[in-house]
């Protein structure tokens, strides 16, 4: 299984907009990498450039040490020679062929023996649990079944790399959950490198071994999902990951002897960075607090009013208002709070984040206390 390396990949469309801007990315063998970002961030274009369906304007792409694309050297190996599998968002099943013909078509192209094709089609259909539909036309299948056929067709030739373009976005919520589990299992059994495009942060979180978060063609952060969640590099990453989203409090900073004093609205908070931090005169900062780190406490803490309470049974998402600031918080367990009732909250642990308001970069992670 190969290691895929993108070097300075840029894609400029005719109208002058840059879909992808100087992207550097190394995808290790057998990784499950998600390309994540809002629509129009260049993730699909990146995937299509790896497949060879789209031609980059600049840069180089390597599969292991073999160069498959280089704008400089004029190398561009066609998609059919890259040995990749591609799963399309709309499945792209050929409507005039039965399931069997759809799956066998690629194998015939690769000059497999007849018997081998037959047994492979049978085998993959059983794996994907579509054996009973093998002689149907795509139009006679449900969305979920079409999806399985598309996966079967893509996997049949045993591609070294599997590229997927939002494959679950056309399925309903329950099926999507089932398919997620199935994809993760497939990744394990095939051992192939998976590259997966999605705009759904929870899908990326749950599936991938690494997430590549993009915005307007520029790579924002490339790391394992939990790192991205816990220590986002900038405000965009912090905001994009997590649901409910992180609380952002603009504040003014003052460096003191024991930590930094932050003033936001009527509150004064003390921030203790986990690693030494020099503010070097920066005053305008943004404090980032994940909802689960707004702890409901019995006494002490800040008194607040419950603006909304949305229990799911497993946890309850709260909106709390105190001193003109609204924070979202998560209380775990089956609890509910009356609207407009008073609760107290405090801070605990050292996962609070400080961002530079101007550059939006993350400055430090640390603990927080009420002053």
């Amino acid at each position: 299984m190969p290691r895929i390396r993108l070097q300075n990949i840029t894609k400029q469309f005719a109208k002058g907009s840059r879909a992808v801007d100087r992207l550097n990315l190394v995808i290790e063998d057998s990784d499950f990498v998600s390309l994540l970002g809002p629509s129009g961030c260049g993730k699909t274009t990146t995937l299509r450039m790896i497949a060879g369906l789209e031609t980059p304007t600049e840069g180089e792409i390597f599969f292991d040490d073999k160069c498959v694309f280089s704008a400089e050297k004029g190398i561009n190996i066609s998609p059919d020679k890259r040995n990749v599998g591609f799963l399309f968002q709309n499945y792209a099943l050929w409507p005039h062929m039965t399931v069997r013909r759809n799956i066998a078509f690629g194998l015939e192209n690769m000059k497999w023996e007849k018997g081998k094709i037959e047994s492979r089609v049978q085998e993959i259909c059983e794996t994907m649990r579509i054996a009973e539909y093998i002689d149907r036309y795509p139009a006679e299948l449900s969305g979920g079944q079409q999806q399985r056929v598309a996966i079967a067709r893509t996997l049949a030739p045993n591609p070294r790399v599997l590229l997927m373009d939002e494959p679950l976005s056309n399925l309903d919520a329950k099926l999507r959950n089932d398919m997620r589990a199935e994809l993760k299992r497939l990744h394990l059994t095939t051992g192939a490198t998976f590259i997966y495009v999605t705009h759904d942060q929870s899908e990326a979180m749950t599936l991938s071994s690494k997430i590549c978060l993009m915005k307007q063609g520029v790579l924002q952060q490339y790391c394992p999902p939990l790192t991205l969640y816990g220590s986002p590099r900038n405000l965009f990453c912090a905001d994009f990951m997590g649901n409910p989203t992180m609380n952002f409090l603009p504040c003014e900073a003052q460096e003191g002897k024991d930590g930094i004093t932050l003033t936001t609205g009527v509150f004064r908070l003390r921030f203790n960075p986990n690693t030494p931090l020099r503010l070097e005169g920066k005053k305008q900062l943004v404090l980032g607090i994940r909802p689960e780190f707004v702890k409901i406490v019995e006494e002490e803490g800040i008194e607040s009013r419950v603006v909304s309470s949305l229990p799911t049974g497993m946890d309850t998402v709260l909106a709390l208002e105190a001193g003109g600031i609204t924070l979202s918080a998560v209380a775990f367990g089956s609890v509910d709070y009356a609207m407009d009732s008073a609760v107290r909250f405090g801070f605990e642990g050292d996962r609070y984040l400080l961002f530079d308001a101007e550059t939006t970069e993350q400055l430090a992670m640390g603990s927080l206390a009420i002053e």
Binding site: P79, Y91, A92, G106
Partner: protein, 598 residues
């Protein structure tokens, strides 16, 4: 009793119910009854047949059927024309699909040069009257063998054109095929353009070769479009009259329509009516085949993908040569015929294309008193021509108003009562004229209205019969678009008015009509343009009194007055193009977009 009466009252209190009943009665009289009338006509003696059958006019006879199917004449009356019709129509389909489909592929999938201009010109023949290319062909390639002067080609090169090239099946196939090639291009090109690029990309990833991709993915995907092109071209070619008349007659090559024309105009109308019935049966058969094919297991509904930018096939070294050849072909289909009409309308003596032989006499010359072609007034100064032009315009406006209004009201009433028996019946009735080939339809009307019927006097030779047949023949066009647009308009919009007590007339004029404005306009325009260039529907119904431009062209052509014929033809083309241009500017809808809608 009271209950029943209340029911009737409730039923009639709904305006759309009244509309449906009126339509049912009218259409039964104008569409269904004539079908019986024409069947009856195949069993009776007509005035012109008195001497050969030796029976009283109007008495029962089996003569026509026997003569048509069981006599030594059946071969030349029925079987030969039938075979000629089928043969030329099938091959015209092949030509249309190869040229139109090939052009569609070149435009959508390759880096052909000058795409924009070429596609505009390629559509051109379809806007023009169907005989345009046939007339141009004759202008270019006519030979002296069957009489008359040789055409432009011989004049330029000195090469004599053999008969098989100048007349008969070969030019009929080519000109009909080329005339309908734009249709193939519109349908097939539409599929190629909208086809999900992912379907082909998926094949590329799975290492499909170019040839296999073309035969196994692309061709099957466009098959439905090809099939509908075949159905349309075949039935249009079968019912085409002008082309085989202009190109087949000189060598006595008859097809069903021309045979029908000559029998109805000649001494045996009964056989003509049998041919009309035969054509209706064939046309209905084709429709049934079409219906049958639609209901297959494979659904070709295109799920739109997100990437439309499929890479174009590079013609490389062949790019310029291929583009040039295509360009030449397109010019032959569009501009060069026009040039031939201009030339032909200017020359004094046939076959001599030198400048000294040219004159504007046929356009603006003054009459020298006589009525032969050398001393007739030029068409722009000829009172007869102006009268005919005025008649044409009056007829087109009448038919457009009639078909458009009737179609819109029918659409409204059909949709409001959708699912009921009466609604379905009326919907089917409005569609029947579409199934009947133009000439067969006019044969029906000839048989129906050439004598007094109850309170309706004989309409033969009147403006009314032309207006009537035009309105009914173009009704399917208008009612289809009426039904489609009413389906998209939710009934709540009208119901909001009902709740507030707005009367029906006001609901129509203040709510429905303003919303449906653009559809109504196109419902009027399509019949107008079709009527302007219609020949086969009117040709057996006109006399000197109710002549229209197209039949005047036909009349001049029969007389051999080529200059006047060509000039009139240019006049018709000019009007059609002008209307088309105005329509496009006013509504943004174009004829070529409209032709796809059934």
């Amino acid at each position: 009793m009271n209950k029943k009466w209340n029911r009737v009252k409730t039923f009639l209190s709904k305006p759309y119910n009244i509309l449906l009943i009126l339509l049912l009665v009218t259409l039964t009289y104008l569409v269904v009854l004539p079908l019986f009338s024409i069947i009856r006509d195949t069993f009776i003696v007509h005035a012109s047949e008195k001497s050969r059958i030796k029976q009283a006019v109007g008495s029962f006879t089996l003569y026509h059927w026997i003569r048509a199917f069981n006599s030594s004449f059946s071969k030349i009356l029925i079987w030969e024309p039938l075979w000629h019709s089928v043969y030329t129509s099938v091959l015209a389909c092949v030509v249309a699909i190869l040229i139109g489909g090939g052009f569609a592929w070149l435009v959508t999938r390759t880096d052909l040069l000058w795409k924009n201009g070429l596609t505009k010109l390629f559509i051109f023949p379809y806007i023009m009257p169907s005989w345009t290319l046939a007339l141009a062909w004759r202008n270019f390639f006519k030979n002296a063998v069957v009489g008359g002067a040789p055409g432009i080609f011989t004049a330029l090169t000195g090469i004599t054109i053999p008969n098989w090239f100048a007349y008969g099946p070969f030019p009929i196939i080519i000109t009909t095929g080329l005339h309908y090639a734009p249709f193939a291009y519109i349908l097939i090109g539409g599929v190629l353009r909208n086809m999900d690029a992912n379907l082909e990309e998926a094949a590329i990833i799975l290492q499909t070769t170019k040839a296999r991709m073309f035969t196994r993915i692309t061709i099957p995907m466009v098959m439905p479009a090809v099939m509908s092109t075949i159905i349309l071209v075949f039935s249009s070619a079968m019912s085409s009259f002008a082309v085989p008349q202009f190109l087949g007659l000189p060598v006595r090559y008859y097809v069903l329509t021309t045979e029908m024309y000559s029998t109805i105009q000649g001494t045996n109308p009964g056989v003509g009516y049998i041919i009309a019935i035969l054509m209706i049966v064939i046309s209905v058969g084709i429709m049934m085949v079409n219906q049958h094919m639609i209901g297959t297991r494979k659904s070709y509904a295109t799920v739109t993908g997100k990437s439309a930018n499929i890479s174009l096939f590079h013609l490389k070294g062949a790019r310029l040569p291929v583009s040039t050849i295509i360009c030449a072909l397109v010019l032959c289909m569009s501009l060069i015929p026009m040039i031939s009409f201009v030339l032909q309308s200017l020359i004094l003596t046939d076959g001599n294309y030198s400048l000294s032989n040219m004159t504007l006499d046929f356009w603006i010359g003054l009459s020298k008193g006589g009525n032969d072609y050398q001393d007739k007034a030029g068409i722009l100064r000829n009172a007869d021509v102006w009268k005919t032009l005025f008649n044409s315009l009056r007829l087109s406006v009448t038919c457009a108003l009639g078909a458009g209004t009737l179609g819109f009201l029918a659409g409204y009433a059909i949709v409001r009562r959708r699912g009921s028996l009466i609604s379905r019946t009326v919907e089917n009735l409005t569609f029947i004229p579409y199934l009947i080939p133009s000439m067969a339809f006019s044969a029906i009307y000839l048989s129906m209205f050439s004598q007094q019927r109850a309170f309706i006097p004989s309409l033969y030779g009147t403006f009314a019969i032309l207006a009537l047949i035009g309105t009914i023949k173009y009704l399917p066009m208008a009612s289809r678009s009426g039904v489609n647009s009413m389906l998209q308009l939710s009934p709540e919009i009208e119901e909001a008015g009902v709740i507030m007590g707005v009367p029906w007339i006001r609901r129509m004029t203040q709510i429905i009509i303003p919303i449906e404005k653009s559809t109504i306009v196109s419902g009027y325009l399509l019949p107008f343009v079709s009527c302007m260039r219609e020949l086969s529907l009117f040709v057996i119904l006109v006399t000197a009194n109710n002549r229209v431009l197209t039949t005047l062209l036909f009349f001049y052509d029969e007389k051999g007055w080529a200059q006047y014929g060509n000039a009139i033809n240019l006049l018709i083309i000019f009007i059609v193009l002008l209307v088309n241009f105005v329509v496009e500017k006013l509504t943004g809808a174009s004829i070529e977009k409209g032709v796809g809608g059934k």
